[in-house]
């Protein structure tokens, strides 16, 4: 057992956990942040994607101890002040989710994708970038549409600010 401390969604947190505890289980079991999901055992499905120090990572493939001292953003921390993040809003507007299980990982992946590519995203890039996120409900059609819509909107906002 070890005490692991990190910053999650802007709060300093710490908890005792077994050395083998994965970050995803630390978030779900120790911090009761159950929005981050586990959909596989082999780092394939991406339901567990969170941001660690600003980059998307699969929280099922990092030990909680490895994340000690880092800054984690989970799906619960993405919206601000009750207002959904533009990517969340785009998923709702474009029906980019059905059962909702892969959705937190999809959204966190999409936010990172848009951060890296900006408004230059195209369909082929989005589809290639989603290689590590599996959805069984949507056939990806509306997920791709949601991400492109969010990228256009967020890119537009950036341009307006410049």
């Amino acid at each position: 057992m070890a005490k692991v401390k990190m910053t999650v969604n802007g709060r300093q947190v710490g908890a005792e956990c077994e050395d083998r505890t994965l970050l995803v289980h630390f978030l779900r079991e120790n911090l009761a942040l159950t929005g981050t999901h586990v959909g596989c055992d082999t780092t394939q499905c991406g339901a567990c994607v969170v941001h660690m120090d600003g980059r998307s990572v699969k929280s099922c493939t990092i030990l909680a101890a490895q994340a000690a001292g880092s800054t984690i953003l989970t799906i619960e921390g993405l919206a601000s002040g009750g207002e959904m993040h533009p990517v969340q809003a785009a998923f709702k507007a474009n029906h980019g989710l059905q059962c909702g299980f892969c959705t937190p990982g999809m959204v966190m992946t999409a936010v990172d994708m848009i951060r890296r590519h900006g408004a230059n995203l195209d369909e082929a890039t989005v589809r290639a970038e989603l290689d590590g996120n599996i959805c069984r409900c949507t056939g990806y059609h509306n997920i791709v549409k949601s991400i492109l819509a969010a990228a256009a909107e967020m890119g537009g906002v950036q341009q307006a600010a410049e």
Partner: protein
């Protein structure tokens, strides 16, 4: 249509909780004192259990209890049942072998549960499970159904000689034989329908809570039909009487059929909670899901399709062997029979049809309904065969289908079904126009100049949904009725709760069901709550599968709304001193037609509950329930066209366009319906191109037990889809709905394989059409 009424693409009410991480799935549930379960499972496909030694495991850190099958049997927990009786052609009942929730004599597939370990943490439970020593006497295994029927093969159940569960037939064999004998042309094929793992992204989970003070059980579970789970666990598994058992299916992360059934884990965790005195949570990992979730498909068929000299189909004869795995799952017997052979007429007028279906035990996980359930198998068989016939006859595949379309309704097929409405030509034409069918030759030539092989294929599917008229399915062997229930509860302030027996696990019922109320009363959907998935809150209902929630579940809501509307109008007429027949409801108001008299909806609701001034003799309150039992199946149909480009160097298939033209009857929310079609097509493309469950035929080990080995469709495997809708409203239900949940998975596989075989000029290709198979097929003809 209002902005939130029937036909409006309303954004979903439930989305915000899923998008902000506030969804509540079974594994998210936590209760005081809760402990974790891990199952000891058979590593062998077929073995006798000689001994189970728990002595070392019991002393491991954190272990609270380890329980095995003998104790389960001593406590009179029942065997797992199949709920649909099928009789063989000789009149004998199907041969049901015993399926014990925890095996204690024989294990029959890799993953068969043997014991449960309950411990303080999941890690400790897992560690202790590894320390449970089970001694096995390993037996030979058989995984393929065709082989399992042969002489000298391993025998799974003493009740079923030669592993044969039943040998069933439907239709007129003599008439089909005569048509084939007299035919101008007969197309013959052997068709394999590959075995699939459903793979909802949320793995199965359950939390069993026994309350000793009340002698009461609560079961959180990943179910598509919590009431059916309660009924079966109470009536057959002897877990607890229904009034002592609450089943809650909270947010459920996809089902696709695999969460219909009541699995060993729900039963065992409830029982273990009582035995150990702690709440017990079990969550499946993905490999465990591959090993233990019911699989789908796995048919091998031979087919003969007879044509007269004018290319009209005169007869069809089908012989199918279906793999049902090691045990008979809940609806496993219905899938390759009444959900399969009854659809073998397709969209075509075929005067003589005969199907023979043999179902077989093998040392694999049970096979049951997976998205489409029997209808994809029928559609793949028919649409591959008619496409092949068109090639053999040298006619256009579209023209051959067109010539044989059923055009007058109602139409009685020779295989039970009475099609009520349809316009198959309309979907065919829409799909051909959307795909620019006539421009294909030019595109093919252009691709050939780039060294690529381009092909086009179509599929005209029909399915039977709206499952199902209770008396009809009862006469065919079903152990349950397949009606649906609803209760509409108008609160005193005019807001509304709808309790529905349907269950939403991605379908968006919280929005679409609310749209019915918005449409009827002009109340915003934000003022309507849809309550589902909890046997304590909702009256008995039958759940969601077989594309039934719209056609059956919503029809129950409509019936309840009729009663609410009638009572509300009586109250309004009384209050406004008008005739009941003059009251109209619009935009949240009850008005006296042709006057300026008006009452807001909430005032009528309030009047119902204050009961100060109701019509003489009227009971207070505004709450009505209804049960709806459909009078017929519904028959969604459509035409899918797929165009592919294949690189002959690598055998890689790229889907360059995919067009779907579907007739679902009336549509409540087009955005959600399109989402259902997208997802269904993706699963169909998965079956045709990527997915295949593979067991090692020598030892029965599951080779494809993770996402590293089982090829799930990913975003870059798929194109965007072009959809359109045609509409012949269903005449048998009040909303004219047919259902849309399974069509995509039913219609797409043959379109894809027809396209690939067209491109490569070799019809000898099985699903999934992997690059290796396609490359080999190309080189086999070169």
């Amino acid at each position: 249509m209002g902005v939130e009424g029937i036909g409006a693409s309303v954004a979903r009410k439930e989305d915000k909780r899923f998008l902000t991480g506030k969804g509540r799935y079974t594994d998210d549930m936590s209760v005081p004192g809760m402990k974790y379960a891990f199952f000891v499972r058979s590593p062998y496909a077929h073995a006798k259990i000689k001994s189970i030694d728990m002595s070392a495991a019991k002393d491991m850190p954190g272990v609270i209890g380890i329980l095995e099958g003998k104790q389960l049997q001593a406590d009179a927990i029942g065997n797992i049942i199949c709920g649909w009786m099928i009789h063989s052609r000789d009149g004998s009942p199907m041969k049901m072998g015993a399926w014990r929730p925890l095996a204690h004599e024989t294990v029959r597939y890799v993953g068969d549960a043997v014991a449960i370990v309950v411990a303080d943490s999941l890690g400790e439970a897992r560690d202790a499970a590894e320390a449970v020593v089970v001694e096995y006497d390993v037996l030979p295994a058989v995984t393929e159904a065709v082989k399992a029927l042969e002489a000298g093969q391993p025998q799974l159940h003493p009740e079923a000689p030669n592993n044969l569960i039943f040998d069933w037939q439907l239709g007129d064999g003599d008439a089909a034989d005569k048509a084939i004998a007299e035919a101008a042309h007969v197309t013959e094929m052997t068709i394999r329908n590959n075995r699939l793992a459903p793979n909802p992204m949320e793995p199965r989970a359950t939390l069993g809570i026994y309350d000793s003070a009340e002698d009461h059980y609560t079961c959180y579970t990943t179910s598509q039909n919590p009431h059916v789970a309660r009924l079966v666990m109470s009536a057959f598994y002897n877990v607890a009487p229904e009034n002592k058992l609450r089943v809650i299916a909270p947010d459920v992360g996809g089902g696709f059929g695999s969460k219909i059934y009541i699995y060993p884990e729900e039963i065992v965790c409830l029982w273990a909670s009582k035995k150990t005195g702690v709440p017990v949570k079990w969550t499946c990992d993905r490999t465990e899901a591959f090993l233990t979730d019911a699989h789908g498909r796995d048919h091998v068929s031979t087919v003969k399709m007879a044509f007269d000299k004018d290319n009209r189909i005169t007869g069809l004869k089908v012989d199918t062997i279906a793999n049902l795995g090691a045990y008979m799952s809940l609806f496993s017997s219905a899938v390759p029979t009444y959900l399969y052979a009854t659809l073998l007429s397709g969209q075509y007028a075929i005067p003589a049809i005969h199907a023979n279906v043999r179902t077989v035990y093998t040392n694999t996980v049970p096979v049951d309904a997976y998205r489409g359930a029997g209808r994809p198998e029928a559609t793949y068989l028919l649409e591959r065969t008619i496409e092949t016939a068109a090639r053999e006859l040298g006619v256009s595949p579209a023209e051959l289908r067109r010539k044989n379309f059923i055009r007058t309704f109602p139409y009685q097929t020779p295989v039970i079904m009475t099609y009520d409405a349809g316009d198959y030509e309309a979907s065919l034409e829409a799909a051909m126009a959307a795909s620019d069918w006539n421009g294909f030759a030019a595109r093919k030539a252009e691709a050939a100049r780039r060294g690529m092989k381009r092909g086009i294929g179509m599929s005209c599917y029909i399915e039977a949904c709206g499952i199902a008229p209770s008396a009809a399915v009862g006469s065919l062997g079903a152990g349950v009725g397949l009606w649906e229930s609803a209760e509409v509860r108008v609160n005193a302030v005019g807001t509304i709760e709808v309790m529905t027996g349907s269950h939403s696990h991605g379908q968006g019922h919280e929005t679409t069901f609310a749209q019915l109320i918005a449409d009827r009363f002009g109340i915003p959907i934000d003022n309507v709550n849809i309550v589902h998935g909890d046997t304590d809150k909702v009256q008995m209902g039958m759940g969601t599968y077989g594309s039934r929630s719209g056609a059956v579940g919503m029809s129950a809501v409509v019936k309840a709304l009729d009663k609410v509307e009638a009572k509300a109008k009586k109250i309004a007429a009384h209050l406004m001193e008008a005739d009941e027949s003059d009251i109209v409801i619009e935009n949240g108001e009850l008005k006296v037609a042709g006057t300026d008299k008006v009452l807001p909806w909430f005032q009528v609701a309030l009047a119902a509950y204050t009961a100060h001034n109701l019509p003489p003799g009227m009971e207070p309150g505004l709450k009505e329930g209804a049960f709806y039992d459909p009078s017929n199946f519904t028959f969604p149909a459509g035409c899918y066209i797929c165009e592919v480009e294949i690189d002959p160097e690598t055998g890689t298939t790229e889907i360059v366009q995919f067009v779907a033209a579907d007739d679902f009857g009336n549509i409540i929310n087009p955005m959600i319906v399109e989402g259902q079609v997208h997802g269904g097509i993706a699963q169909g493309i998965g079956q045709a191109l990527l997915e295949n469950v593979h067991y090692d035929p020598q030892n029965g080990q599951l080779i494809t037990a993770s996402y590293m080995d089982y090829a799930m469709p990913r975003a870059d495997d798929l194109p965007s889809f072009k959809l359109s809708h045609q509409n012949t409203p269903c005449p048998s239900n009040p909303l004219g709905i047919k259902g849309c949940g399974e069509a995509g998975a039913i219609g797409s596989p043959p379109a894809l394989i027809n396209a690939i075989t067209d491109a490569i000029g070799n019809n000898n290709l099985t699903m999934p059409a992997t690059p290796q198979k396609v490359w080999s097929a190309i080189n086999a003809v070169n």
